[in-house]
């Protein structure tokens, strides 16, 4: 029910009222109409998290690397620390 999934904005409907801004979002090739009122900063090519037909937020590309950077840092710390890798 709270499921929200990332998809890529393929097109944005031109229109007047920003509260009715919509676009087509692709979920692995399946296109859906999505309300974009809550992500005024997002445009074509951006990834957004979509829940019940509404984009809740834009996915931040830089921040998306966080967990992988974190793992790499832990590895480097392990190598630097003698015997640290045995745990």
């Amino acid at each position: 029910m709270c499921l929200a999934v990332p998809g890529r904005i393929e097109s944005v409907e031109a229109g007047g009222d920003p509260m009715s801004r919509t676009g087509k979002v692709s979920f692995g090739g399946i296109l859906k109409d999505v309300n974009l009122a809550y992500v005024p900063e997002a445009g074509v090519g951006d990834y957004v998290i979509v829940h019940v037909g509404f984009a809740l937020n834009k996915v931040d590309e830089e921040e998306a690397k966080e967990v992988f950077q974190y793992l790499r840092e832990m590895e480097l710390a392990d190598e630097a620390e003698p015997g640290g890798g045995t745990g």
């Binding site: 029910m1 890529r8 966080e66 974190y70």
Partner: protein, 366 residues
């Protein structure tokens, strides 16, 4: 798919689980708040990767599960009226009321429809001006901006035959209810990532400080969940109780301003009863005064419908992290997803349903 597959990498998951095992020296209990997380944890076997001392308990974060029986009965009563079209998300239709469920109303000729978005319900209202269209609005802060927008647009466009039956709940008061309840075992929280996408995480700071519990904003994929557990366990071992946000690709500190603005305009905070838990002050959203005309309960006069729950079900204890589904004597026998006795077996995101689906009961008994 991008932003999904890379967070399911088994090698990365193993490395994170190793790190957790190295960090943990004492027993801790961590609660994941959201039912979507419960589902992912059981599906990917995340809990089985963790060291023995660390227990994950499943929280109250399934809006379908915590919707009180009497509100389901009110929805059924409305749906049975002539001239009414009742719309809701699919999983609400199967939730048994005290007599029947909404699917049954549909098979008896009621106009009950599944919609993907509340905006679909508004469109149905606009296309059928002679019918009363009611949207059964359940959900946490994740869903409230969408449901709020439907009401906001209905008011703007002057759609008079549209209303909502609101069963909206708010997560932080439920977390506080758990922390302050007798026998609480929860030492730290994985906060629900998509609730935080809307609300941000400032509102957890007083909670973390008051109860000395770490709160880590967590996503829904295996690597997200393991990183959340790792950060939470690290804080517990170090004696810290901070709010941290490793789900920063989706969650900003202040949440989504536009979404909060519409929620704040359309809804107001009210006390609400949670199925299996009881009344929690300030834990619900009702329509704000300016939007009261869209309240289906008042429009159809069903506010007084009230019922009692079955005595056998221990879902209240499960929702507070005091018991696991396999502790329930009815689990998998008298209570199954086809014939649910209680809240947490009803929705796919409920803890009992997740355990049942992934056959945890067979592992335990055989």
């Amino acid at each position: 798919m991008r932003y999904i597959d890379e967070y399911r990498d088994p090698e990365g998951a193993r490395r994170l689980a190793d790190l957790v095992a190295r960090v943990v020296t004492r027993p801790w209990t961590i609660m994941e708040v959201c039912g979507g997380q419960t589902h992912a944890i059981v599906r990917f076997g995340i809990d089985e990767l963790l060291p023995g001392g660390l227990t994950l308990v499943h929280g109250p974060g399934c809006p379908v599960c915590v919707t009180p029986l009497e509100i389901i009965d009110r929805a059924i009563e409305i749906a049975e009226r002539r001239g009414v079209t009742l719309c809701s998300f699919g999983d609400m239709l199967r939730v048994p009321g005290s007599g029947k469920d909404l699917l049954r109303v549909k098979s008896e000729g009621g106009d009950v429809r599944i919609v993907y978005s509340p905006m679909d319900a508004l469109r149905i209202a606009e296309a059928n001006p002679s019918r009363e269209v009611v949207f059964f609005a359940v959900g946490f802060e994740t869903t409230a901006p969408a449901n709020g927008m439907a009401v906001y647009q209905a008011a703007r466009r002057g759609v008079k035959n549209f209303s909502i039956l609101s069963a909206h709940v708010r997560v932080p008061p439920a977390m506080e209810a758990i922390l302050s309840s007798e026998g609480n075992r929860v030492n730290g929280f994985l906060a629900a990532g998509h609730v935080c996408a809307v609300m941000g995480y400032e509102e957890y700071e007083p909670l973390a400080a008051k109860y000395r519990v770490p709160v880590v904003v967590t996503g829904f994929e295996p690597l997200d969940l393991l990183q959340g557990v790792l950060q939470c366990a690290t804080q517990l071992e170090e004696g810290r109780a901070d709010v941290e946000n490793p789900y920063s690709r989706v969650v900003r500190r202040e949440g989504n301003r536009e979404a909060r603005r519409i929620m704040g305009e359309v809804f107001r905070v009210i006390d609400r009863k949670w199925r299996g838990i009881g009344m929690i002050p300030q834990s619900g959203l009702g329509l704000a005064e300016a939007y009261e005309a869209f309240d289906a309960e008042a429009r159809f006069g069903v506010g007084a419908v009230s019922v009692e729950e079955s005595g056998e079900c221990i879902s209240g204890l499960i929702l507070r992290g005091l018991k696991k589904p396999v502790d329930c004597p009815a689990f998998g026998s008298r209570c199954t997803p086809e014939r649910p006795l209680g809240a947490t077996m009803v929705s796919g995101e409920g803890a009992c349903a997740a355990y049942y689906k992934y056959r945890r009961h067979e592992v335990r008994h055989g």
